[in-house]
Amino acid sequence: MSAATQADQAAPGAIPAGGLIGRRGLADRSFQWLALAAGLLVLVILVLIAASTTQQAASWFSAEGWGIFGTVWDPAANKFGATPFIYGTAITGIIALVMAVPVSVAIALLLTEVVPFRLARPIVYVVDLLAVVPSVVWGLWGILVFAPWIQHIYASIGSAVNGIPVLGSLFGPPTSGASFFTAGIILAFMITPIVTSLSREVIATVPAVDREGAYALGATRWEMIRGVVWPHSQGGVVGAVLLGLGRAMGETIAAALVIGSSPSITSHLFATGYNMPAVIANQFGESTGVFKAGLMGLGVLLFAFTIIVNVLARGAVERSARRKRGA
C-alpha cells in the first residue's frame, strides 16, 4: 500500500522527460498515419468507382461519340442520348430548390433568431424527422397518395393558364399525376432537412456582439437579420443549398416512382419526364450491351455533376469563411 503510494507519487518525476515525449511522438505519428490512410482509402475508393464505371461505360462512349448528348433514348432503335435525363435532373433539381430553399432558410432564421432555445429544440427534431423517412416511402406516398390528389390541382391550373403565352407552355394540361413537378415537390420535402440544419448552423455562428451592436444602433429584428446575419452567413447558406442540390440530383427511388418514366424534353412542367438516377434504377435489370453501357455512362455523368456541385458548394463555403476572416 505504502509502496504503491510511493510509486504513484514518484511516477511523474520517475519518467524522464525525453521518454514521455518519445512515447507521445510515437502515438501521434501512428495516429497521423492512421488518419492519412483512412483519408486516402476514401479517395482510392472514389477513384476506383469512377474508373470502373467509366470502363464499363466505354462501349457507350465509343458507339455514340457525341451522340451521348443526343435527345432520343430508344433502346429498341439503338439510340442512347442522355439529354432528356440531364434535362430532367436539372429541372427537378431547380423545382426542388425553388420550393425548399425559402422554406429552409426561413425555418433556420426562425430557429436562431425568433423563437427561444426551449421552443427551437422540438422544431429541430421535427424537421430532422423528415430526413429519417426512407426515400422509398416518399416515393410510394408520392405515387399512391400525393400524385392522384395533386393531379386535380394540375388539371385546374392547366385549364386556367390555357392559351396564356409563357404560363400556358409551363403549366399546360397535365398528362398524369406523375411529372417533373411532382418529383420536384417530393425532392423539396427530402432536401428541406439538410438545407435547414446546415443553414441553421451557419446562421448560429454570427457573433452575438454583431447582433447586439445592430440592436444598439436601433435596428429592428428584420434590419438586424438583413444587415448582420445575412451578409455573415450568405456564403454558408449558398453552400448548404448546393449540398441540397447534390442530394436532389442523386435521389433515386423516390424520383423513379413519381417522375412518370418518359424520356422527354419539354417546357411543360406537369408532363411526365425522367431523370438520370431514375432511368438507371428502372432500366438496369433488363439491359444488355450498349444499353447497359449507356446506363453506366449516365452514372458516370451523374457522378461528375454531383462532384462539380459539391466542389462549388465547398468553394462557396470557403470563400465566405475567408471573407469573414478578413473582416
Binding site: L198, E201, L243, A271, T272, N282, G285, E286, T288, K292
Partner: protein
C-alpha cells in the same frame, strides 16, 4: 467552426455513401456454398439464383413445395430481372438464372465460351387488360393493338375498334396507355409479338420501348395493373397472373389463324404445342398457328452452365430443376401460368443429364 461543421456533414454523407456501396458489394456476392451431400437421395447445400421477375411467384411456390422433397437443401431465388440473372450467372454469383429471353448476341461474350443449357420452365399469357365500364368482351387484332400503343388510335369509339366489336357500346373516352416504367421481359415479349404479328408496328422490340409521351408508366406488372385499375379508359399489357390477381378485365386477341382467343393457361399451353423448338431448347411462343392458341404467349427459361465445378452442385441443380419440370408443373395453373406441353417437357428432362458432364 461553421466550416468544420459543414466538413463534418460532408464527411458523414460520404461515409453513408461508402456504406451503401459496401453493402451493395456484399449483397451481390452471394455464396456458392456447396454442402457435403453424402448420398444421392438426401442432398444438402444451397443453390442461389436470380433473374426473371416473371418466374418469381412460381419459384417461391416451388421452393416452398421442394422443402418436402429435399428438406436440407436451400434454394434462394432473387428477382432483379432477366438481364440481372444472366449477368449474375456470367459472373458466377448464382448457380442458375431465370430469363424470359435467350442470351442476346451482345452478351454471349460474357459467358467466355462456356456452354449454357436452357431449361424451359413454363408458358404464360400476356393480357391486354383494360378499364372500360360496360364493355366486357372486347376483341382486338394485332394491327389495332399496334396502333393503340403507337398513339394512332386515341379514342375507344375509333372505327377500327368498332368494326371488330359490332354490338359493343364503345364510349368516346380517350385511351390511356398503361406501360412499364422498368425494363422488362414482359415488354420485350409484348413488343416481339407486335413486331411479328403487326406490319404497322414501328417502335421495334426491346425490354424498353419509347412509348408515346402520354403513356402512364407503372413499376412491374403490379404497377401497370394499378394504373389500369385507377384510370377509366386505360389499356395496358399485364401478365395473366397479375391481371387475375388485380381483378382486371382483358380482351380476346386474334391469333394467326383468325380466331379471337381469350388468355388462359389452356390457350397458352396450346400455343406451346406448335412452337419451333431449336436444338438448344429456345423458342418463341408468340403468334402460334394453332386455332386455340392465345397469340401473346411468352415463356421463361432457367439457365445453367453445363460444366459444374462441384459434384454436389450438379446433384442439387439436377434435383431442383428436375422438380420444376416434374411435380413443379402441377403448381403452375393455380398461379396463372401454363404448364409446358409434353414434347418440350420430355426434351428438357432429357437435357438434365448434360449438367456437370
Amino acid at each position: 467552426m461553421q466550416r468544420r461543421r459543414i466538413q463534418r456533414a460532408a464527411a458523414v454523407g460520404l461515409a453513408a455513401a461508402l456504406a451503401t456501396f459496401a453493402a451493395a458489394c456484399s449483397s451481390s456476392g452471394g455464396s456458392g456454398s456447396s454442402g457435403s451431400g453424402s448420398s444421392s437421395s438426401a442432398l444438402s447445400g444451397t443453390l442461389n439464383a436470380s433473374g426473371s421477375t416473371f418466374q418469381l411467384p412460381f419459384q417461391q411456390a416451388a421452393i416452398q413445395a421442394f422443402k418436402s422433397v429435399q428438406p436440407n437443401m436451400t434454394v434462394n431465388y432473387g428477382g432483379g430481372g432477366s438481364g440481372k440473372g444472366r449477368s449474375d450467372l456470367a459472373s458466377g454469383v448464382v448457380q442458375f438464372a431465370g430469363s424470359d429471353s435467350p442470351i442476346p448476341s451482345d452478351e454471349t461474350a460474357n459467358f467466355k465460351g462456356k456452354k449454357v443449357l436452357y431449361f424451359p420452365v413454363f408458358l404464360g399469357p400476356i393480357t391486354m387488360s383494360y378499364n372500360l365500364s360496360g364493355v366486357s368482351n372486347l376483341k382486338l387484332t394485332p394491327a389495332v393493338i399496334a396502333d393503340i400503343f403507337q398513339g394512332k388510335i386515341t379514342k375507344w369509339n375509333d372505327p377500327a375498334i368498332k368494326s371488330i366489336n359490332s354490338g359493343a357500346k364503345l364510349p368516346s373516352t380517350p385511351i390511356t396507355l398503361a406501360v412499364r416504367s422498368d425494363s422488362s421481359g414482359t415488354t420485350a415479349n409484348f413488343s416481339l409479338f407486335l413486331q411479328t404479328a403487326a406490319k404497322n408496328w414501328k417502335l421495334g422490340t426491346s425490354s424498353t420501348i419509347n412509348w408515346p409521351k402520354s403513356a402512364h408508366a407503372g413499376n412491374g406488372n403490379g404497377g401497370v395493373a394499378q394504373v389500369i385499375k385507377s384510370t377509366p379508359g386505360a389499356i395496358g399489357y399485364v401478365d395473366y397472373a397479375d391481371a387475375k390477381a388485380s381483378g382486371l378485365t382483358y380482351a380476346s386477341v386474334q391469333n394467326s389463324s383468325g380466331q379471337f382467343v381469350a388468355p388462359s393457361p389452356t390457350a397458352a399451353s396450346a400455343a406451346g404445342s406448335t412452337v419451333t423448338l431449336k436444338p438448344d431448347l429456345t423458342f418463341a411462343a408468340v403468334w402460334q398457328s394453332s386455332p386455340s392458341a392465345y397469340p401473346i404467349t411468352y415463356q421463361s427459361w432457367d439457365l445453367v452452365y453445363q460444366k459444374q465445378s462441384s459434384a454436389n452442385t450438379t446433384k442439387m441443380l439436377k434435383a431442383y430443376i428436375g422438380y420444376l419440370l416434374g411435380d413443379g408443373q402441377k403448381l403452375l395453373t393455380t398461379l396463372g401460368y401454363a404448364p409446358l406441353p409434353s414434347n418440350i417437357l420430355s426434351k428438357a428432362k432429357a437435357q438434365l443429364s448434360q449438367i456437370g458432364s
